[in-house]
């Protein structure tokens, strides 16, 4: 036994005698993970979270979360002698007088953008492949909670430097708070310690940004991963893959090397962006002053769609009995986002209600094989995209020489008209793709080779698909819609009839399919009974 083996053995022995970890580790190290590029999206989210923790910790060593007024004396000349908050001054200090400080600030901001983007794309992957179905509904809800927290966390983060842009964002957040009926102005006065902007909000959101919210997120991420671990990962359909097995690579060594390596790749790319791509140059904006604003003020992209909704809201306020309700703020700022996130969180159960399917699913859907769900996804994305476009209406207007009024009206009409259109088009495309799959399985691939038959007829030679491909294109389930009677056997209307009819209607929509080829049809074709 070499010295190294003795050391490793001794350590392992020490730990196992105190924890009994060997049994668990033995199973863990051989755990099988299915492999697919889209499974890396969630990894990117986790890795950027780690990068955020590391770079964020670095930043806390110098950032001063205080709104005490100071006179700037650092090395950035243009702001020399300007009065500003200690928060803003210390952010300038990190950017100009701490070696690697600007790099870390930019890494932190880029990692936040990547974190949010990867989270959204990961969620789209989970949605469109139906990975949220039983038994994974809880993990879906945790994911929606993480997305919501991520948006808040990002907003609070870029509000900390107390620059002109971030202060404008905080002012808008304050207006939303203030618009809440009955308690709004009280909430605002409590959060800001008095009138806006006051002298405390930076230290308060700092506590939330570096401790409270990341703590909750870390806990949720841990549960999210434990559930993935315990429930075993989903897998894409294909020959040999069933609802009862997991096909992939063992954790040790392949997955460890790939996943561990991928962490360094994500970190490397983030560091590269932080090195070459300037982001949030707060020294250009200047310190916050509520009497000023920068033209083209924009939130970060994950807040942009919310800002876009606020921008396109119609100007409606109710004044009655000495009180004011600002529908122009409440609807786009709280009510619509509230509905969207609630529907998002409950979607797995909504789909179960529509299909009546309460079984476990571990094989992912190809998006075309669930046209209704895919269309709902496309519809939601279209809604968000129109809102996001409108959130940048001022920049679009100046860059493309359009009038801001045109863009606003396009968005106002588009946010109502385009999502249903996207639903219909997506559903049709999915059904067409199903039809194409059916053709492929039944008639094989068009080879482009033309053959003249003895009697002069030309035909194109079709090559049959491999059994693997044919299986992939036809493995999926197709279930009939729920049969819910609105009348009983004697023809008496069921008191629950309306509910049943509505559910039947949704169920029919959810199960609309192009019939997939059956083995019988394939057999008939093979035997030449055209």
């Amino acid at each position: 036994m070499t010295a190294r083996e003795r050391l490793a053995g001794g350590t392992a022995n020490f730990i196992d005698e105190r924890t009994g970890a060997a049994k668990w580790m033995k199973k863990t190290l051989t755990k099988v993970f299915p492999d697919h590029w889209s499974f890396m999206l969630g990894e990117i989210v986790m890795y950027s979270f780690v990068i955020l923790l590391l770079s964020g910790t670095f930043l806390t060593f110098w950032f001063d979360p205080s709104m005490k007024e100071v006179e700037y004396e650092g090395s950035y000349e243009p702001l020399s002698g300007v009065k500003m908050s200690a928060a803003y001054a210390s952010t300038l200090n990190i950017s100009f007088d701490v070696r690697g400080g600007l790099l870390m600030r930019q890494v932190h901001h880029w990692a936040a953008l990547i974190f949010m983007a990867a989270m959204v794309i990961h969620m789209m992957r989970v949605f469109f492949t139906g990975a949220f179905r039983k038994p994974r509904e809880l993990n879906w809800i945790i994911g929606v909670a993480l997305l919501t927290l991520g948006i808040v966390e990002g907003f609070l983060g870029y509000s900390l430097p107390d620059d002109l842009l971030s202060g404008t964002g905080i002012r808008i957040a304050e207006a939303i708070l203030q618009a809440i009926p009955v308690v709004g102005s009280y909430l605002s006065y409590f959060l800001f310690g008095g009138a806006f902007p006051g002298e405390v909000f930076v230290q308060r959101i700092y506590a939330a940004h570096i401790l409270l919210i990341p703590g909750i997120m870390l806990a949720l991420i841990t549960v999210h991963l434990m559930l993935v671990w315990y429930q075993k990962h989903t897998q894409y359909p294909g020959p040999g893959k069933t609802e009862k097995n997991v096909v992939g690579y063992p954790l040790m060594p392949v997955y460890m090397a790939k996943a561990g390596g991928f962490f360094f790749i994500v970190f490397g790319v983030t560091a590269f962006l932080g090195a070459v791509a300037s982001i949030n140059p707060i020294w250009i904006y200047g310190p916050y002053n509520p009497g000023q604003v920068g033209a083209g003020s924009q939130p970060d992209w994950y807040m942009g769609w919310l800002d876009g909704l606020v921008r396109l809201a119609p100007p409606i306020e109710t004044h009655a009995f000495g009180h004011t309700i600002s529908w122009n703020i409440l609807i786009p700022g709280l009510i619509v986002p509230g509905i969207i996130f609630t529907l998002l969180a409950f979607y797995p159960f909504i789909e179960q209600w529509m299909t009546g399917d309460k079984r476990e699913h571990h094989i992912l859907d190809r998006p075309r094989n669930n046209p209704n769900r895919t269309a709902i996804g496309a519809m939601s994305l279209t809604f968000t995209l129109v809102a996001l476009i409108n959130g940048g209406n001022d920049l679009i207007a100046t860059h493309f020489d359009l009038s801001i009024n045109q863009i606003m009206w396009f968005s106002r009409i588009g946010i109502i008209a385009l999502p249903p259109l996207a639903f219909v088009i997506t559903k049709r495309i999915c059904l067409s793709l199903q039809r194409a799959d059916r053709e492929l399985v039944l008639h094989g691939r068009e080879t482009g080779r033309l053959v003249m038959l003895p009697h002069g007829e030309f035909i194109e030679v079709h090559e049959p698909l491999s059994p693997e491909k044919a299986y992939l294109l036809s493995h999926h389930e197709q279930n009939p819609p729920l049969a819910l009677n609105s009348e009983d056997a004697q023809g008496v209307a069921n008191p629950q009839g309306l509910k049943g009819r509505v559910r039947s209607r949704f169920s029919r929509a959810a199960q609309e399919q192009v019939a997939k080829p059956t083995p019988k049809e394939v057999l008939e074709l093979e035997e030449g009974h055209y």
Binding site: L103, R171, R311, H323, D357, E468
Partner: protein, 334 residues
């Protein structure tokens, strides 16, 4: 309501997992050796990155600037520090992934799932345990304990809420008040100088604040409510009722600069159209018609400050704002 495969169409037969395909590195020792070299080169590149990082941190002065295409003038210290870090991290990752893909075994392994649901007897045992535990605790038999515990827990939950009370003062009527009073002079922002009508040309705009008595410091809280924008037009350009017209002076009209939508500074004035535009959400106000909203999400005009001149000819407020400035709130009565 489960339709256990009811009417589901039967499947084509599953051909099973495709046969394992050997990689070049599995069969050709030379290819394996080559892959090994590639992995080592990637790890070595990472080391070079760290050396670049250390070099930049210590030896490139922080005020060194170089010119690069696309990014323009760039701080070399920060750039090479970042590039060194990026290389150091990225190539470790590339090396590990390349290693896993070429040299580590790539035989797919099959593991089996079991249903998440516990066995019926386990569930029954759990129910029994819980029932027994509850019975042993006697909650059902001793309602007095149950009720007092409920009250105690409910009250304990109140204390953190109470502790939060001192987060801030109550708003009172503060939201409806500004520092503008009858006779308050308008002073330039920045500069704090009183202004005469002649200081503002026709077509010009200026941001003003209320003059503060000596010794009183202007805080951001004050600016957030008091900021006023002066616009000077030719008097005949106004389209106002007589009261509002009497609030102007020699074609100078004063509006709260704090947007009536969400409180941003209404900072953009378009001289040709005489429109004020809020850059946050594009609410657009017509100066000639007392800042009527002509576009965007704001539901109210900007409050107008009545102005006139004092005995020394300086612009002053005739009266305070007659409504609350800034975004709406529940207690706002107009």
């Amino acid at each position: 309501m489960s339709n256990e495969n009811s009417g589901a169409v039967e499947k084509l037969s599953d051909p099973g997992l495709p046969e394992h395909v050997q990689r070049k590195t599995d069969v050709d020792p030379r290819a394996a050796k080559k892959a090994e070299r590639q992995v080592s080169i990637l790890f070595a590149l990472s080391a070079v990155g760290t050396i670049l990082f250390i070099y930049s941190y210590i030896w490139i002065p922080e005020d060194t600037f170089i010119f690069l295409p696309i990014t323009g003038t760039t701080n070399a210290h920060q750039l090479f520090l970042g590039l060194g870090l990026a290389m150091a991290l990225f190539f470790i990752g590339m090396g590990a992934v390349h290693w896993a893909k070429t040299l580590m075994p790539d035989h797919e392994v099959v593991d089996y799932r079991k249903e998440q649901r516990s066995k019926d007897e386990d569930r029954a045992a759990l129910v029994a345990t819980v029932k027994e535990g509850a019975a042993n605790a006697g909650l059902g038999r001793r309602p007095l304990i149950k009720r007092t515990l409920g009250v105690a827990l409910g009250l304990v939950g109140l204390s953190p809420l109470l502790l939060l009370r001192d987060l801030g003062p109550l708003p009172g009527d503060e939201l409806t008040k500004t520092n503008w009073k009858q006779g308050t002079r308008l002073v330039t922002d920045p500069g704090d100088r009183p202004i005469r009508p002649s200081d503002l040309e026709v077509g010009g705009v200026a941001q003003v604040q209320p003059a503060f008595p000596a010794g009183k410091v202007r805080h951001l809280d004050d600016i957030a409510k008091d900021s006023v924008l002066l616009v000077r037009l030719r008097p005949e350009e106004f389209n106002l009722d007589t009261e509002r017209l009497s609030w102007t002076h020699e074609g100078i009209i004063a509006f709260s600069k704090i947007c009536s939508h969400m409180g941003c500074a209404v900072a953009l004035y378009e001289q040709t159209t005489k429109h004020l535009l809020c850059p946050c959400h594009q609410s657009t106000f017509d100066v000639t018609r007392a800042a009527k909203v002509i576009f965007g999400p704001s539901a109210r005009p900007l409050p107008q400050l009545p102005i006139t001149v004092d005995s020394e000819g300086y612009l002053v407020a005739q009266a305070p704002f007659n409504e609350a400035v800034g975004p709406s709130f529940w207690e706002r009565d107009s």
